[in-house]
């Protein structure tokens, strides 16, 4: 009756079950697989925030003189709604030569009445410049904790690679401070007069408190 028989059906069913399981794992594996693919093929990814320590300048690079052209680097800061911090660059823009390392500072102030922990995510615009922009020291490498009312200066030490293509002459480094806690939506009931600032994550942003 069965072309394949009882055995054939069982085999096909199990094989398909394995495929299903693999595809479920695929969803979770996609992020590491993607990084692997980019590394193997050498494709430069777009707009990846360098949250982890970026490529450190190779030893001996410091011995090579910087390229003699000036590139504008501007600094931008953001804070997501719900994070009660004030965050601004102390320097708005600098002119650097590719190959020359530089250190700039940012100022962060905690406006809340409790300790708040947040993390900065970095982005470089244009995205094509991302592989040529490296940070040797950055406050974005780890989470930052600020006491109530505390103000702190945070520094970044960065280097624009000597290999920066000729066509890129202006970069912007943008940081966004965010908490790991999801932001609740603003009160969305009817009768809202105007766009409203969402409420801060308040108590749940306190270090150590689970959601």
């Amino acid at each position: 009756m069965d072309a394949g028989g009882e055995k054939g059906r069982r085999y096909t069913t199990m094989a398909l079950g394995v495929v299903v399981a693999m595809m479920f794992c695929f969803g979770f594996a996609i992020a590491p697989l993607y990084s692997l693919l980019c590394k193997v093929t050498g494709i430069k990814a777009a707009a990846t925030p360098a949250a982890a320590p970026a490529v450190v300048a190779a030893p001996g690079a410091a011995a090579r003189a910087p390229v003699d052209r000036l590139v504008t680097v501007k600094f931008d800061t953001n804070v997501t709604d719900g994070l009660p911090w004030e965050f601004r660059p102390l320097v708005r823009r600098v002119e650097v030569r590719p190959g020359e390392a530089l250190k700039v500072s940012f100022s962060v102030r905690n406006l809340a009445g409790q300790t708040v922990v947040a993390r900065a995510v970095a982005n470089v615009v244009p995205w094509q410049a991302t592989p040529y922009f490296s940070k040797t020291e950055c406050f974005c490498f780890q989470e930052q904790s600020l006491a109530p009312g505390e103000t702190r200066e945070m520094a970044v030490r960065f280097l624009v690679s000597r290999d920066l293509p000729e066509g890129i002459n202006s970069l912007t480094l943008s940081y966004t401070f965010m908490t790991r806690v999801p932001v609740s939506p603003p009160a969305g009931r009817s009768g809202m007069a105007v766009g409203q600032r969402p409420q801060p994550a308040a108590a749940s942003a306190v270090a150590g408190n689970p959601i």
Partner: protein
């Protein structure tokens, strides 16, 4: 088994086809239902490629409708046609599976070639060393524009229907003013969920994603007012986040920048001066600020929306969950189930720091003068009539006191 007259069959088919074709012609003629008139180079390229694809589509559709229509009319049993069982044996029959893909591929390559050209120009990195940069941040449910080089920040919210009338949902209180014939790079990000910035005449649309910066650039080539909307579902009021760009000449733009800087300086000076303000001045300012910031929850008449948002009127009954009533009682604003006008410093604490664990957020980003005005207004409006007048230095002191809320 067909009871429908064959002529009506064909007519019905033809009607559908005609509707589609005339619709296309109408779209291309300026019925006002086509892409709007471009205002930048990029938008012009997009407009052109839209017309290319529309034309290709219209031609292909005409061919398909024509062939099918002919077949419907001719190859019918009721007309005595006998099915040709050997159609697949002819040369066309045997090679069509190669021929058709090749033809479709040819059409595809034509479109793709032109598309790739435009795509590259839209995605290319501008080579300018000095480029104006504007950061566009999406919020729920308004836009924030920051001119990075000029240090100006604009908050742009929709204008209510009473004021905007026919432009409701297409007008805002503060527009994004930009210079023409200047290369501008936009940095897009979000302060909360995904939004998208879209102005059809400028010809770009980009997602705004929290923690990430996406970029676009443009050169506006004519002056005018261009309207757009948020183009990524972002929650309750996604429909109410219009964008209005006002493109002006470079000179006019410089003048506007100067105006804004003067305004900002004046506001800061105002707010931090030691001048003693009159009650009327504070009430007037407080009323505007209250309506803009507080009325969404506490309502224009101060009655609130119990049990979620308490009334601000002394003597009104209020009962809610314990997470609400306890903090209010502790601060002296609720007694025996009724709202009470508690002490001024506690009132300031609530407004400056919010009430953790509830919907009442901190408003510390408002300056001393603004908070003084709001609290003065709240304590005297809605029949509260306390006679209290709060001056900006009082607010400054309350901030410094670092009054912390009770633990959650």
């Amino acid at each position: 088994m067909c009871s429908l007259d064959p002529c009506r069959q064909g007519a019905g088919r033809a009607a559908v086809a005609t509707m589609l074709l005339t619709g296309y012609s109408a779209a291309r003629a300026e019925l006002g239902y086509n892409l709007p008139e471009p205002a930048s180079l990029g938008a012009r390229d997009i407009y052109d490629i839209h017309h290319l694809t529309t034309t290709v589509v219209a031609v292909l559709l005409a061919i398909v409708v024509g062939v099918v229509g002919y077949s419907l009319y001719t190859h019918r049993k009721s007309r005595g046609f006998v099915a040709d069982q050997n159609l697949h044996k002819g040369r066309f029959g045997r090679w069509s599976w190669v021929l058709i893909p090749v033809v479709v591929l040819g059409v595809d390559m034509t479109i793709a070639g032109k598309a790739e050209q435009v795509l590259e120009s839209l995605w290319e990195v501008p080579k300018d060393k000095e480029m104006m940069e504007v950061k566009v941040t999406g919020h729920q449910w308004w836009w924030e524009y920051e001119y990075l080089d000029q240090g100006i920040r604009v908050e742009s919210r929709y204008t209510p229907e009473e004021q905007s009338r026919d432009l409701y949902l297409r007008e805002v209180d503060n527009r994004l003013v930009l210079p023409t014939h200047t290369r501008i790079r936009f940095l897009h990000t979000s302060a909360d969920v995904n939004h998208a910035f879209w102005v059809p005449e400028i010809g770009f649309k980009k997602d705004a994603i929290a923690g990430y910066i996406t970029e676009t650039w443009t050169v506006l080539d004519r002056e005018g007012v261009y309207r757009g909307q948020c183009a990524e579902l972002c929650g309750t009021w996604h429909a109410r986040m219009p964008i209005v760009v006002e493109a002006v000449s470079a000179e006019r733009f410089s003048a506007w920048v100067e105006e804004q800087k003067l305004k900002m300086a004046a506001a800061t000076a105002e707010a931090s001066s030691d001048k003693v303000r009159s009650k009327e001045e504070l009430m007037e300012m407080g009323r505007n600020l209250y309506n803009k910031n507080c009325a969404a929850c506490h309502q224009l008449d101060g009655k609130g929306l119990p049990p979620a948002f308490p009334p601000l009127i002394a003597g009104s009954a209020f009962s809610g969950g314990e997470s609400m009533t306890r903090p209010l009682e502790e601060r002296g604003f609720l007694k025996d189930g009724k709202i009470v006008l508690g002490p001024v410093e506690k009132h300031l604490d609530i407004v400056i720091n919010g009430i953790p664990g509830t919907s009442m957020q901190a408003w510390k980003q408002l300056n001393d003068l603004e908070i003084a005005a709001i609290v003065t207004y709240e304590r005297n409006a809605f029949g509260n009539d306390s006679g209290d007048v709060i001056q900006p230095p009082d607010v400054g002191k309350a901030r410094g006191a670092g009054v912390t809320a009770s633990a959650q």
